[in-house]
Amino acid sequence: MNKQLYITGICKISDNNISLNGKSVFSNPKQIPVNEFLKNGYRDFKTQYPKFFKMDSICKLGFLTVEILLGGNPSIKAYPSELVGVVLSNSSSSLNTDIDFYETIKDTENYFPSPAVFVYTLPNIIIGEICIRHKFKGENVFFVSEQFDPNILFNTIQNIFAFTNIQCVITGWVELLNTHYDSFLCTIERINNDEETVNNDIFDIENLSNIYLK
């Protein structure tokens, strides 16, 4: 039995559009603020998770991308929780929410630091929210780089699969700053070469890069 790493699911959210495995599954006909768009997406997919509304925008983005990604590949939820990991990246870290937090402390006359906003001033809270929801306890790490860096993701994930029992890693890019947002997440799984791999791309740097750019 020869197992190889494959990209088994892809979800992208940008420009008021959500696509799953290359096909558009939700879109808004006109440009609306990202927060509104994400809430509409949440409702359209009938997600039942009230804590979604407490999240900052970038967590909503990452969370929703994963909800839809796993909706298209529900077998991931059958893996033991310790064997699913999350490796994410972006370029602005949590800057969008850092700015919101600063609004609550900048005025010495009206000074009320918000603990609920502060909690989100770290990019890996995106991973935290995903893992709390799905109980994923495997490896998790967050890279910050100027542009999407398929090299670091590929090498890190390949190593995780080579040296641990991990069965699935969710990886990609979750970026949001002011009006710009762009998420691309995929599931990487070990699969037998001869089974059900016809439609899946092999997990390598070139494929990861091409899918992101498509």
Binding site: S81, E82, G85, V86, S91, S92, S93, S94, L95, D98, F101, Y102, I105, K106, Y111, P113, S114, P115, F118, V119, Y120, T121, L122, P123, N124, I125, I126, I127, G128, E129, C131, I132, H134, K135, F136, K137, G138, E139, N140, V141, F142, F143, V144, S145, E146, D149, N151, I152, N155, T156, Q158, N159, I160, A162, F163, T164
Partner: protein, 400 residues
């Protein structure tokens, strides 16, 4: 077969010293760096103790030997100081570094620059120079350090809250093991700023007295700042018998607690998993561990969660303590600073106690080390760094 990973250099900037020798001296004499805030003005100045690096930016410029520039954030300065120290200890010149990797962990990046800019800007939108804040981004201090030192191998930044530096070290080690790169500078840096102080204060987890990790009456954490970096070298490019080698990075583990954005699970599942994975990865048994450098922040929640996890994993508890009672909680830098301290413990055959902690926790059967232990073979150290978002990392350092 995976390449072994050796450590050949250390660099540190913290409230208890800006070199490994100074830090060692403070640890031996039990001298904590926690004091009153002096770096900037704050309404909390007299209320909340803090562990600052005792040098202002101008002094850091002079120490590093770089021309003073308004564009260098305090993060960059602390990071440069520590990275240069580590490189020097490992016997490399700046001209040797082009193939090196640089992996740095941080949470607040160049926040201090933006705060300085904002103070002028908020009163007058024409005041303040906008270009001062282009070095705000998390990844910027890493990029500036790489450029300053001619590091071109592979450079990236990791931001996973308080496990950032530990994850940077883990990332470097794993890329060395898989043959992607041979030499890496890894660690982290976080400088103090108002954003961080205000934020942590709003969560009501700051102790109004110096922190008391694993004490029954502990009341929260003490914020600190600093940088800690180590040089990792692959066995492909260094002889295991070389006298440059300080110790080995034997293994590592990371897991997600998956419980809450900022609180740790009551049963310490995430902590247990990361420690267990690190031991498995190292090929060691719990009984092999001499000492645990705990995450030990001093919050009611963390210390209970971590304590329960440790007592579950170790039938016989090794020595353990939290050196955050000296350095404060240095957030994104803590994994790097504590890596340096762990390695100092191994090479000097000493086990450093916590200071300020005196009462055993009711829930635990064990207590942390309370007095310096000397002339003790320290064979294997487990170093924990647990971050918000449930990101838990454990590293194992071993004597060579």
């Amino acid at each position: 077969m995976a390449n072994r990973v050796f450590i050949t250099g250390l660099g540190i900037a913290s409230s208890i010293g800006i070199s490994p020798d100074e830090v060692l001296s403070s640890l031996i004499s039990g001298k904590s760096g926690i004091a009153t805030l002096s770096l900037f003005d704050s309404v909390y100045k007299l209320e909340i103790p803090i562990a600052e690096v005792k040098y202002i930016n101008q002094q850091l410029f002079d120490l590093i030997g770089v021309k003073s520039s308004p564009f260098h954030s305090r993060n960059t300065l602390l990071g440069l100081l520590a990275v240069k120290e580590a490189i020097k200890m490992a016997g490399f010149l700046d001209s040797d570094l082009s193939d090196f990797g640089l992996y740095s962990g941080t949470t607040s990046g160049g926040m201090d620059l933006s705060e300085n800019f904002y103070r002028s800007f908020i009163n007058n939108s024409k005041a303040g120079r906008l270009r001062d804040i282009i070095h705000h981004d998390c990844g910027d201090s890493t990029a500036v350090i790489a450029e300053e030192l001619g590091i071109h191998g592979h450079v990236t930044t990791i931001s996973t809250a308080c496990s950032s530096a530990a994850n940077a070290i883990m990332c470097g080690a794993r890329l060395i093991k898989s043959g992607y790169i041979d030499r890496v500078i890894a660690g982290g840096v976080d400088a103090l700023n108002q954003f961080t102080m205000n934020g942590f204060n709003s969560l009501m987890i700051l102790d109004k007295q110096p922190c008391k990790p694993f004490d029954n009456n502990r009341n929260g954490l003490t914020l600190g700042e600093g940088a800690g970096f180590i040089i990792l070298e692959s066995e492909r490019c260094i002889n295991p018998t070389s006298n440059k080698i300080l110790c080995e990075l034997k293994g590592y583990g990371n897991a997600c607690d998956a419980y809450h954005q900022t609180a740790s699970s009551p049963d310490g599942k995430g902590a247990y998993l990361s420690m267990h994975k690190a031991l498995e990865n190292s090929g060691l048994d719990p009984s092999d561990i001499t000492y645990i450098n705990t995450h030990g922040t001093g919050t009611v929640n963390n210390d209970l969660s971590e304590g329960i996890a440790m007592e579950r994993l170790f039938k016989k508890m090794p020595y353990y303590s939290s050196t955050k009672s000296y350095t404060g909680h240095t957030l994104g830098a803590s994994g790097g600073i504590e890596a340096v301290i762990s390695i100092l413990s191994i090479i000097n055959k000493k086990i450093f106690p916590g200071v300020q902690s005196t009462q055993q926790m009711n829930e635990l059967k064990s207590s942390p080390v309370s007095k310096l232990i000397e002339d003790r073979n320290v064979n294997h150290i487990l170093s924990n760094s647990f971050g918000f978002g449930g990101n838990n990392t454990s590293l194992v350092f071993s004597v060579c």
